[in-house]
Symmetry: D2
Subunit: 305 residues, 4 copies
């Protein structure tokens, strides 16, 4: 039985559903003031970052998640210069944002300095120099407070946050009250993008509720999705803005912007056809999302399993 | 711990990757001359059909698989009258095919009579009367022999087969030699569709090799995909024909054909936007598929884990 | 991976400890008014009876449990004629009791008729005709009520009960008040024996508390143990009486009683040397048991995980 | 689900049997020239040493294993002065041997220096200063070669070896040819003791074969056993000598030797009653051991799962 692993990481997504990952090595285990952190080496997904028992990113497929979060909004915006990132400790969002040549300034606000430092140590190529880039500033603080107190405005704001769990204060970054503040921090023609929960039709309530909540502050909200192997699922993302409509951009335009306009040639997941794929969500997902009516408020939070 | 299940079904997709399903009840376990059969009730996916240890279909999401297999080819064909089904023991492909009003005759060739009977007993709504429909004929025999010996030709041929495993003769239904015969059994303007393996970029070799092998017999081959929750993955499908091009059909035309032309109003997964989603595969999947160069031949089979 | 099972039974003994049993077939799953019942066929232990998620008895090793529960008390008693069994639905205690030729009458009181009937159907050789023996009477009722209302007295009383769980009323058969009643139902020279919980030094609190509670009603209480492979542990048993001392019976006497006196020649686990082994518990178990000071009372129950 | 672990160590003892341990922290993972090493912290058993995927010793219950291996032989020998240890890298055998005041010299021969150093770092209290004791000498070399080439003789020789696995050369320390050499290295009145495999009646072949093989070189061979919680089983040990008979030593003598004679007062598992328990093996174990007829030879090795 020597070929069967004896070290396993088991991630539950439901009391009766779990995914088992054979582990080559548990590289790091620790606890920051905000979350537990595991860094594990697996045969299948390579090195993985695990926060509070949930896989966040893996060597093998982090490009899918990060390209999906960043490029649709960046391509939709005609000329993004100032970008705010809320969360994003792995640094891979910086890597993708900085590929757009118009970018002049990126501020990243992450509450957990230790996770950022661990990622820089254990996954240096994920940020790929982004933390050292002179255009980048990193602040370690609560993002809600930052946005409430700091009145600067931005072309694009990204939210790369863990899901709202019932023992974490991050839920205050998913509420109606918070998004109303966010809206005020966007330039006229700006837009936001965020990871937005599972699109498995049975586990879609978080995605649907975030979508509904964003609709209260933004006229144009669009769901999109990407299948992420290490999540075992089609994962949801959302863009929101006053008037930008990423769904309407045809594949050829996406490819032209990536290519001759911005000279971004090294993407592995995202291009025009992928853009079309992402925004054309299947009928059941659209229907289930519409069936979800909840609004998330500061005093009516929503938590996932 | 009373809420945690003690009965589990554990499906390995790789020596170091497995999915655990908490089981409410193991309803049936048996062995036909061709495969092992389990019918299990799970909390998450409802009743499931498991062949040789792999989940085939579940109450919760079989509509995704079966609508995806059937409707793109049926919609692409202008007026499908005669349909051959290879495999398809659950009966759900019959259910979907018979929704198209032009269909006059369906022959289903499945080697495993016991599985068909078990499905009719345990999942009667999956076929939804299809087996009793006067247009339907079911033959229990080896499909390779059927197609080699029977020279009838068809508008559409579907292959709803389990993947080629190294201890099963089904691999002879995935080879160059077999597809050459299949080509001869299609009408001039006919097309085929088949389930075509995992699209997880690391497990895509089966999909890529089947795609390549079909290219030898058909000028127009198109991959498409659907995320199927009970498979934990984006699953691949393929259509092939001499001159039909399903990828080029715009969403509005799909919706018009389904609606006013054919009056198919009860689909849960498939519609015009889903059609667009399915055929616009992400860049990494396209690239990995292209990197796979194998051709499957009778004496050079390919087996999956 | 065809040799690795995909059906598993996973028994937790602690939130962080579990035993996985590969299952050949889930034979029966149901729910009586009192407990859930599973009958499963495993490669390693053969057919198993599982109540409320815990393995009770298996083909492979039920002889250890049942010989250990029955024979020390029966051998200690000079001439057991009347025997009461509380619980014992599998029927295997009847099989062992009836091997003693002096036995004239056995009454078995089990609350769960369905379990008894399932055992007679699925494990007929466990009772081995015991239920049909004219000396045996079976009553389906609450044993506490039976003993409180029925003033008959007995030579030996056995308690073959599942452990006290927090969602089951069986805990009322482990209390000070109950044992005081039991004492009144024993003949002057009678004794009782019962299964008495895990002897794993870290999980011994149930055994210790039952031992302490019996001490309040009986002058002679003796712990003993047997390693039961399907329980993964050394399991505890207890005898109690006014003046019988099973620990003092030397191996030769046990063998003589079993042999020339009673002609019981077919035991697989129990004999003189085994008797010595059972009652000579290791030092750590004796110490941990002594460290446990709890008494179980009707309104101070003790529950196990 | 926050209280359920996501890190697990799963130890298979058979293709269909496994034990799951929830892990708090994987402390060390590495590979020496001879074996893989894991040091893991578990909630249930505390810190554990795992070699080649099998738990060797744990904080919680290593005292059982080590007291059981060492003291029966040491107590049986009237005055052990010179002791050889083969294996024993954890150092806990040194700790127990050195409790006997007559000991003047201990040589330990272990092939794997790295494991010894890891144990001294991660489990310093297991050796409890034994490695620094002036009576102790440690040699890192192949024990077979040591015993063949070095003609010194000893009062007691202990073998604390991992089981013979099919990808390890340690099987040459379990053969007829090796035990014939060992016999020559014992003083006239000396004895040996060794860990001797699983006593689960279904997994007893290794124990039985080692027992048979020792019988060829020693007139007095005695099996004994201890239930070791972290092994999930009753584990086997064996003593062998020309004329010492540990089974015949009554409990009172064991207690007297430990107490007034040798002043060993801190044992947690072993005493007179435990000695009696250990050597009085149950009938089924005796029978299964007798049914095993194999002899282990250099060119007829035996491997365990």
């Amino acid at each position: 039985m020597s070929s069967v692993p004896w070290k396993w990481f088991i991630e539950h997504t439901h009391p009766t559903q779990a995914h088992m990952h054979g582990v080559e090595k548990y590289v790091f285990s620790g606890k920051t003031p905000f979350q537990t952190v595991e860094i594990i080496d697996t045969d299948f997904f390579g090195r993985c970052l695990v926060l509070d028992g949930k896989i966040q990113s893996t060597e093998f497929d982090e490009y899918i998640y990060h390209e999906t979060l960043i490029h649709p909004a960046m391509i939709t915006h005609p000329r993004p210069e100032s970008v705010l990132v809320v969360g994003g400790g792995e640094g891979a969002v910086l890597r993708e944002i900085l590929k757009h040549p118009s970018v002049k300034k990126v501020v990243m606000v992450d509450i957990d300095k230790e996770v950022v430092e661990l990622c820089r140590e254990y996954f240096p190529h994920w940020s790929n120099g982004g933390f050292e880039d002179p255009r980048v500033e990193v602040l370690y603080m609560d993002a809600r407070r930052y946005l409430e107190e700091n009145h600067a405005t931005w072309d694009v704001i990204f939210f790369d946050l863990t899901e709202p769990l019932d023992d974490s204060p991050s839920y205050l970054l998913f509420t109606k009250e918070f998004y109303a503040v966010v809206r005020e921090r966007l330039h006229e023609g700006g837009c936001i993008a965020l990871q937005g929960g599972n699109l498995n039709p049975r586990l879609i309530e978080c995605h649907g509720a975030v979508y509904n909540t964003l609709k209260l502050s933004f006229d144009n909200v669009a769901s999109y999705g990407a299948y992420i192997p290490s999540y075992d699922t089609m994962w949801g993302f959302i863009t929101a803005s006053r008037d930008l409509k990423p769904r309407d951009i045809p594949p050829e335009i996406v490819d032209k912007k990536l290519g001759e306009e911005r000279n971004i040639l090294d993407l592995r997941y995202y291009d025009g056809l992928t853009h079309q794929h992402m925004f054309a969500l299947p009928k059941d997902i659209r229907k289930q999302r519409s069936a979800e009516k909840r609004i998330i408020e500061d005093d009516k939070p929503l938590f996932v399993y």
